[in-house]
């Protein structure tokens, strides 16, 4: 191996090591802060949303003996502390150029940060759901997603768990920080249904009531 080749390998490995270390720091930067507890919503007998703040452990016990019948920590929720800025350091999401971290003032935002986004999200998540379904969500981090033409959106990353009579269903989501609407979801629970095969005619699927 020539001296030049050795120097080239040395330089390449040095760069790779530095990149690795830099990414490690970056990863630490984006690790979620556990500043929030899980926020729990369900419908009361009149269909009105009621909520509480619960500990993480209680969400872990979703399969257990209904610890939610008497939720703890019935205090004023954190989301009532109004702020017009994201409540924690924002993470930039720029798929086309992951390394860029522009100044917020240089971006044209399509939305604004709404401190009431959690209430709006809860309403959205419980929309259409029967009283037997409850939802838990936990804010993870605030995100600025960079779109084309220097446009951007304030988003929130949250973990969401529905408690249903078929078991828990969980996923992560990006939420519009202004409207509380769900923008994107990922990481959904994958069930392997281990039950006897039912005849096709007895499957509880959807039955059409008209044709085109």
């Amino acid at each position: 191996m020539s001296s030049f080749q050795k120097k080239a390998i040395f330089l390449s490995i040095l760069i790779a090591s530095l990149v690795t270390l830099w990414r490690k720091d970056e990863n630490e930067f984006i690790k979620p802060k556990n500043e929030y507890s899980w926020i729990h919503y369900k419908k009361d007998e009149k269909g009105k949303l009621v909520h509480s703040i619960v500990d993480f452990e209680e969400v872990e016990k979703l399969n257990g003996s209904s610890p939610l019948s008497n939720p703890r920590n019935e205090r004023s929720p954190a989301e009532n502390k109004k702020s017009d800025k994201p409540e924690q350091k924002v993470v930039f999401l720029n798929p086309a150029n992951p390394q860029s971290k522009p100044e917020l003032s240089d971006l044209n935002f399509l939305n604004t940060y709404n401190p009431a986004w959690k209430e709006l999200l809860a309403k959205e998540l419980m929309l259409f759901q029967p009283e037997s379904v409850e939802v838990y969500f936990k804010p993870q981090k605030s995100v600025v997603k960079i779109l084309e033409n220097n446009r951007a959106m304030f988003l929130e990353e949250v973990a969401i768990t529905y408690k249903t009579n078929r078991g828990p269903y969980s996923f992560k989501a990006l939420i519009n920080s202004e409207t509380g609407k769900v923008v994107e979801t990922w990481g959904k629970t994958h069930y392997d249904n281990f039950s006897p095969r039912m005849p096709a005619s007895e499957n509880k699927g959807l039955t059409p009531n008209g044709t085109l």
Partner: protein, 803 residues
Amino acid sequence: MQKKQDALQKIKIIGLGGLISSTLFFTSCVPEVGQTKLRKKASDSATSNTAGSVDATYGRVLLDNPIVLSGNSTLSQTVDLSRYLSSPQVIVDDFFLRAEGPCAGLETCFEVKATANSNSALQSESKKWAYVTTSEEFTQVNTYFHLNKIMNQFYQTIYGGYANAWDFTTSNYVTSYPQNLVDTNGNINFFWQNPYQVYAECEIAGNAYFDASKDELCFGKDAKYAQVKFAHDPTIIYHEAGHLFIHLAINLRNSAASTLTTQSLGAVSYDEAGAIGEGLSDFFSYYVNGRSHIGEWALGRFLKQSRPLSEDDALHPAGIGTDDASSRITYPNYLTYDPNLPEVPYEDIHYAGMIISHYLVAQSQDFENYCGLTKAKASNAVMNLVIETLAELGDASGKGTDLAVTGGGDNVLGRVNGSASHAKTWITHNNPITYRSFVQTFAKFVKNTLGNSSLNLCNGSQYSQDRLEQLLDRYGLLIFRTYNDYRNEADPLSGSKYSVSVNPANRSLSTLIKKNLIKFDPTDGAAKAYVIDNRDQIGKAIAALRTRGLALDMSDQATNFEYNNGNGKISRGEVVGLVPNLYNDSNVTMGGIQVLANDFDHVARVLDTNTGTFKTRPCIFSDNDNWPTEAEGGTYDPSCSTATLNPNKSANLEVAPICLVQYNGTSSTQWITQKEFMEKLAMDSSSCLKSSEPEACFIRAIPGADQATFSKIDPKKTWSNSLIDPQTGKAPSFKYNNVLFFEISKQIPPGTIFDCRFRIRFTNCDDCYHDPDTLRKNYDYRDNEYNGHRPFRILHFQFPIVD
């Protein structure tokens, strides 16, 4: 630098050592692959499995499931499992049942608890892990042992694969392993952000799950016999762990690129990606224990749901085997085949996945036979190729490999999945993982690794392309014409980035069908589509989809589906479900049918010479639906001939929702966009379904519920007719994956006619993937085309809106 070199050297040693150690394991502990006779334990006497009977760090486990260990296929649910315990095995040198790293630098990879209610991982002050087999503690120890075993084996495969792919800073072939996958401490940069919580006695009957968002694995119990615990069947542990490792593999490049979101294998309840995920998870069981059957105890004994992994398995009926070249379970004919009840077709991802599990086992065996690899090395090689395949296909950075030129930007094509800006739309909708894309990519990696003599991975030999293609063909999977080597960067006219062609002489059992042979049911009086609009069904469906993270992006129009009148027509204000009634007009089976209702590039901005302003007009695709006429508002604008990349209709004026509106003007009747119709009605966008989406002002496909999938359609049949139960004569009802859901605005004037352009394709379709353009030489379409019309058959639904 020395540290980095040391780390890489260490990885190479670990990888090699892993192979050696797993080879030893394989040759000493497991029955032969393809063995159909159940092995009986030498002694059936019960073992007293108490703490006093083992040394510290040891415990006894079930090395396989009770059916295999007993040799009794009719074992009672009340069996004394202590009769089948192993000799003492090393469990863990810890006071808690938790596994150490290296998993992305975490101190603990996973910890095993009884249930979610347990305060901590199982604790033993003596570090002795022996418990009576009826106890919850035993189930946890058994789960831990097998989970730890498969995790260590998977790590060795990753280390070995990475060491094969990268020689320090130089790649040995075009690999999807990212160069920065392993850090200086030997930690793999996985999406493994928290210790996995594993519930061995999960309080869910008849179920087990993998949860990527909460980092959980759950093993339930039989719904009828609670003493039959799924975690007593190691093959089920391997299967569920397989879902976890698939998740890590498909996000291998995303993790290295520090993306925020992750990708999954499968988007809806049935699709081919999900089926492949189940087949791969079954293969994980073979990868660990070398046996070609899964779930004899947890699935087979009481549910009649166990699955073979080879045609030689006794569960398969006569006529299926490996001796005859044409007796394998072929794609797509066996997509709805359940060997437990073979006469009744069944659409389910677990059974549809058997084609890939059988192929991978057969491929592993062929590596053994041809390359002279041990069984362990052969299955390890296959697993490494699976990881490479998933990492490339799941890459949301748009690159697929560190050697790519670019990952693309908003309007710049990357190498894979469109571009970094829009990859998710490609992975879930525009070009999702199918049997075709999976085996094409897998085959490319076989060709580039074991088929590359310079890498010497085939024991001094070279696994030939013909041999690879002939085995794929036996499974009906040779449904690609080139290996798509450089994906979007490939150029048929290039001297370097060209795609290697498949030898057509090797295609015997694999069939390719032209897209125009899928159509609406031509039977007299047959419906084009079925409509579901009654409030109860729609309400339950939408609520269920939303708990699964789908259909969450809806308008504020209906809060309780109060406009749904259940008249079986499409009425103002409703949320409706549509199921296209598709027909296979060819003489062979179609597989992997997908109907898309998402936005696509099918309109053009054209200068109106009369007014001097630009208008958006529907493209006339003369090579496809040839609709509408120019007099009806259509255009042959040159921009219609190829598709743009950005799928976002608010940013790309050539992209529009699929439904157009008939507008009766003063001089002619024209088809116009919904946005133009809104303007004709002098409406403000605030009155649209969503004010931010005037393009979908009146009819809006609900994101996440905007594609329908069907496993297969037999020749000259519809999907329903293909799945009729011959015993009852009944077809199955529709599942969520069969239905497209739409919101209909209450602002639409009654009588307004809409025409919706649905894009349809199927997996063994020739011109849905191979670009017929003479200059492209049957290369795969570039990804931008999947944002347009060319790879699809466009079929129309035209309907009036009623009150």
